[in-house]
Symmetry: C2
Subunit: 536 residues, 2 copies
C-alpha cells in the first residue's frame, strides 16, 4: 500500500493499525477507501463529519487536504483524478457543503473523471426534523453524481465505499457519492471491505473497426474527433500513426479534460469555440470518426446559428464510445493500415521573448511558451486570453494541458491544486482569467498550506471579457453603461497581489513583457506557489 508523506510516496503496512472491534462507521469507511487505493481526501468537514476527522487521525494511508470552500475541494479532486486516473475522496458537509462543491462536480462530470464524494448528513434519528441544516441531500447528490448511495446505518458503510470506488472507476470515470448519516459514522461498524475488481473498458467490436478502416481506405477525407485516454500515451501515438499513414485529420474537443502536447507529441487540432469556425474547419470531411466523444456541438446556441457542427454530407462513425477501449481500437486500426510505428510529432520551436514591451494575451503566451519547463502541467482557464494563442503551446516543451470541461468558471485554480498534489515533482501553471479566478480564489490558501508548486498567471483584463463578446454575438444590440457594468470588473479594480498575499501566496504584478519574463523565469527555477498578475 502506498501513501503520501509530505509529497513523497511511502510504502507502509496499514493492516495492523486498527483494532477492528473498535471501528466506528467512519473508521470502517475510511479504512475501506484506503484498501481501495484512495490515497487523498480533499475535505471541508462540519459537525456531522467529526468522526471522519477523528478517523483521519487513526487510519493511516490517506492524506487529508483542507479546502476553505467546497468548490476547491471538488475541483482539486478533479485535477487529482485527471493526473492519476484514480479517484480522490472528498469530504463534504451536508446539503450546503455539497451544493458549494457542485459547480466543480459539474466540471468533473464533464471531464469524466473518477471521484468519490463522502457527504455527511444529519443522524437518521434527526432527519425527520426541519433543523437549520436539513435539506434533501439525496436530491442534490443525484443531480451532481452518476452513482449515489444513501447509507442508512454503519453496517453497510464499508461495502458502500468499496462499491463507490468501483463505480467511480468504471470507464470512462464517474462521480460516485456516499451519503453518510452522522449516526452511521459514529456507531460500531462492520469490518472494512477490500477492493472490488476494477471494471475495465470494453473492447471495440471488429465491425466498428472495419467500418472505420473502410472509410480510411475510401480515399475520401476522414477526420477523427478524440477525447479521453486517446489524447495521451499509446492512444495518441496510434492516432498519429493513422494520420501519417492516411492523411486523416485529428481533432479534439474544444475543452478536452487532458491532452498531451508539446514537442514529441502528435499534434491535434482543437475544435474552435465558435460554431462558424468549427464548421469551416470540418468542411470537406466526408467521414468524422468519433473516439470517446460525441458529435461536435456548439458551446451555446445563438439566434439563427446551428447547434450541430457536423458539416452537411459528412457521415458520423462511432469507433469507440467513451466507456470503450478507444486507444486499443486506434492501435488495431493502425496495425490494420500497416502504419509505421510512429506518426509525425511536433518539433520544438525556440520561442524568442517578445521585443515589444506591451503585455498582450499574445505576448504573455509567447513568454510562457519560452519558459515552459519539461513535463509541466497547464491548467487553462484563461478563457478569452488563452484560447486564441493555445496553438503556440504545441511546439513548446512537452506538457499536459487541462481544460475547463464543463464551462463552469472557477475550475482552474482548484484543478491546478489537485494536479500539484497528484504530481509533486511537476511544475503546474494555472492560466486564469480574473473573473474566473474570483470564483474559487480560496484555492490559493490550500496551495500555500500544502506548499504546492503552482504558478498562477492571472490575466487581469478587468472584465468578463467573454461576455462582452457574447453580448455582441447573441445580437443583443448596443451596450449601455448599465449593461456594461454587469460585465466589467473595474470599479473597484481587483488587486490580485493583495488577494494572493492575503492567503499566503507570494505574488507580483507585472505590466510589461520584460517584467513578466523575469518573474516567470524565477518561478520556473523556484518551488512553491506564486501568482503573477499580468495587467492587460
Amino acid at each position: 500500500m502506498l501513501f503520501f508523506n509530505e509529497g513523497r510516496r511511502v510504502e507502509v503496512s496499514i493492516e495492523d493499525n486498527v483494532n477492528v472491534g473498535e471501528l466506528s462507521g467512519a473508521d470502517s469507511l475510511l479504512k475501506t477507501l484506503v484498501n481501495c487505493d484512495v490515497q487523498v481526501c480533499f475535505a471541508n468537514p462540519g459537525t456531522s463529519e467529526m468522526h471522519f476527522v477523528r478517523a483521519i487521525d487513526k487510519i493511516q494511508g490517506i492524506r487529508a487536504v483542507l479546502g476553505l470552500f467546497e468548490g476547491v475541494v471538488t475541483g482539486a479532486a478533479d485535477g487529482y483524478a485527471r493526473m492519476t486516473g484514480k479517484p480522490a475522496a472528498t469530504l463534504l458537509h451536508l446539503g450546503p457543503g455539497l451544493a458549494n462543491g457542485m459547480a466543480n462536480l459539474h466540471n468533473a462530470r464533464k471531464a469524466q473523471v473518477p471521484m468519490v464524494n463522502i457527504i455527511g448528513n444529519h443522524a437518521t434519528t434527526h432527519q425527520r426534523f426541519d433543523a437549520p441544516l436539513t435539506s434533501d441531500v439525496t436530491a442534490l447528490a443525484n443531480a451532481a453524481s452518476h452513482w449515489v448511495v444513501a447509507c442508512r446505518g454503519p453496517k453497510t458503510l464499508a461495502a458502500d465505499a468499496a462499491r463507490a470506488v468501483q463505480a467511480a472507476q468504471a470507464p470512462p470515470g464517474h462521480i460516485a457519492s456516499v451519503i453518510v448519516p452522522a449516526d452511521a459514522a459514529w456507531l460500531p461498524a462492520e469490518r472494512p471491505a477490500s477492493r472490488l475488481p476494477v471494471i475495465k473498458s470494453t473492447s471495440v467490436s471488429d465491425t466498428a473497426i472495419a467500418q472505420s478502416l473502410a472509410a480510411l481506405r475510401s480515399g475520401d477525407q476522414v477526420s477523427f474527433l478524440l477525447r479521453g485516454d486517446m489524447l495521451r500515451g499509446v492512444g495518441l501515438q496510434a492516432a498519429g500513426r493513422i494520420a501519417s499513414a492516411t492523411g486523416a485529420r485529428l481533432f479534439c474537443d474544444t475543452f478536452a479534460p487532458r491532452l498531451e502536447r508539446g514537442a514529441g507529441r502528435v499534434p491535434i487540432h482543437r475544435m474552435p469555440y465558435r460554431a462558424a469556425s468549427a464548421l469551416d474547419l470540418l468542411k470537406g470531411t466526408k467521414t468524422l470518426i468519433l473516439v470517446g466523444t460525441q458529435a461536435p456541438i456548439s458551446f451555446f446556441a445563438y439566434p439563427n446559428q446551428p447547434s450541430e457542427l457536423t458539416p452537411e454530407g459528412c457521415e458520423l462513425l462511432v469507433l469507440a464510445h467513451p466507456h470503450e477501449d478507444g486507444g486499443g481500437a486506434l492501435e488495431a486500426l493502425a496495425e490494420a493500415l500497416g502504419a509505421r510505428l510512429s506518426g509525425e510529432v511536433s518539433q520544438r520551436e525556440n520561442f524568442a521573448l517578445p521585443t515589444d514591451g506591451t503585455l498582450t494575451a499574445e505576448s504573455i503566451m509567447q513568454i510562457i511558451a519560452h519558459y515552459l519547463p519539461e513535463n509541466a502541467i497547464v491548467s487553462d482557464e484563461g478563457v478569452t486570453a488563452s484560447l486564441p494563442y493555445y496553438g503556440m503551446l504545441q511546439t513548446t516543451a512537452p506538457h499536459d494541458h487541462l481544460n475547463l470541461t464543463g464551462g463552469s468558471i472557477g475550475g482552474g485554480l482548484p484543478v491546478a491544486t489537485g494536479a500539484a498534489i497528484a504530481c509533486p515533482d511537476r511544475k503546474v501553471f494555472a492560466l486564469e482569467g480574473d473573473g474566473s479566478a474570483m470564483y474559487t480564489l480560496q484555492a490559493l490558501w490550500t496551495q500555500a498550506r500544502e506548499k504546492l508548486d503552482v504558478t498562477t498567471i492571472l490575466y487581469a483584463n478587468r472584465s468578463y471579457k467573454v461576455l462582452v463578446e457574447e453580448l455582441k454575438i447573441v445580437g443583443a444590440g448596443q451596450i449601455g453603461t448599465k449593461a456594461l457594468s454587469m460585465l466589467d470588473l473595474h470599479d473597484p479594480t481587483l488587486n490580485w497581489v493583495k488577494l494572493a498575499e492575503g492567503m499566503g501566496v507570494e505574488a507580483v504584478r507585472v505590466e510589461d513583457t520584460r517584467s513578466l519574463a523575469d518573474v516567470l523565469q524565477s518561478a520556473v527555477i523556484g518551488h512553491g506557489p506564486r501568482l503573477i498578475e499580468a495587467v492587460l
Copy 2:
C-alpha cells in the same frame, strides 16, 4: 413606481419606456418584474442571460447589482428581503450558476424570505445536446426552491414572472424560480404582465386563540416560541404586552431571520444553541405556545442526546403556523387578556469601554455595544465568537439583528450587502468568523462597488473553532495533529487586511481593545465599506 438611483429612491413613470411591439422575452420578463414592484436584481450573468443584460439597459425601474460569485447574489437577495419584506430578483447562469448560489438559497429558504430567481438555461433547441454547460437545471431548481416554473417559450414569460412574484410573497415568504431558456429570452414576447394580488397571511382561528388564552389563564408556566414578523413591530409589542400581563416567557429560535433588539424593544430570550442548555431553560414550562415556528429541536444530533427540546410534560400549542397572521393572533390575545398597551421593554445600558487591553470575543462585543449607532443592522455570523455575548446587544441602541438561518456558513457578508442595498441610510455591521467569511469573501467587492455602508468585524481566531468544540462534544475522543489540521486556519494565516484591500475595501488589523475602539468609532462616523480584522 419607485426605483433606486445611486442609493436614493426616485419617482418615475415606467409605462412609456418600451415599445411593446419590440419586446423580447427578456424585456417582457424584466418589465413584468418592475410592474410587480421588484426593484433590485442581484446578478451574475453569462452568455445565456445576455438578453437580460441588454434588457437591464432598456427597462427602467430596476437596479442591477453585480456579484462576483453567485453565493453573493443569492445571499444579498436574502438580506434585501429580510429588510424590505419584498423579493429581489437574482440572475443566475444555468445549472452551475444556480449551484453556486444554492447554499445561500438554503439559508434564505430557512429565513422564509421572498425571492425570485431568474435562471438562464440553454435554448430549447440546444437542450437535447450534451453541451459543456448542460445540466438538469430543473432538478437543481426544485431542490433549491419552493416554487419552480421551467418556461418553454417567450409568450408565457411575463405571466410566469408575475406568478413567481406572487408565489415568492405568499406568507411567510418563498423561493420562486423561473427557468428561462435563452431562446425564450431572445424571441419576440407577449406584453408584460401586471401585478397579481398579494396573498395575505391567514387569520388565526378563534379556537386556537381560545386555547392559548386558557393556557395563559391556567396559572401554569407558559412560554412562547416566536419567529417571523412576531419578532418586530406590532407583533413583538403584543408579545411584550402578554408577557407583562401574564408572566409568560418569550423565546425566539436560536437563528431567527430578523429580530428587533436594543433599548425600547421587548426583550426575547434566544433559544440556546446547545441542547442541554435549551432543555434547562425550558424546564418548568407547562405549555409552549408556538407562533410562526416549529417545536424546538437541536441544531445537530449527538450520540445519546435528544433532538427534541420540548421538556417532558410540556404541552405544545400552535397559536399560528408560519403562513398565518401570528402578529394579529398575539394582539387578539393581548386584548382578550386586557393587557396594558405596552409591555416591558429593555432599557439602554451605558456600556463602558473595556479597561483591559486584551481582545477577546467578550471585549469585542463590549466595544460594539458601546458604539452601535441607532437603527443599525447587525448581520451576525460570528459563530462561536458572537453567540455567547449576544445578550449584551439587548441593552444597546435599537437595531435589527439578522442571523445565519440555515447554518450554511458564508451567509453573513452577502446578507449584510443586501441589507445595505435595502437600507442605504442605515449603518450595517457584519460580525464574521474568519472561516465563515472565506466562503463568500467576494461580497466585499460588491460592497466596494456599490459604496455600501457596511463595517465588517472579522473575528480572526484562525480556526473553525465551532468544530474544535464539536469534535469534543460528539465524543470523537482525542484530537491528533492530522485531525486538528482540518479545523485549523493557521499555516498560512489569512491576512484579512490584504484580502479586503484586494477587493477595494478599506481595512485595518487591530490587536488590542483601544485600537478596536478607535477604529470602530471612526467607522461609525464615516460612511462606506470597511473591514476590521480583530485578532483573537
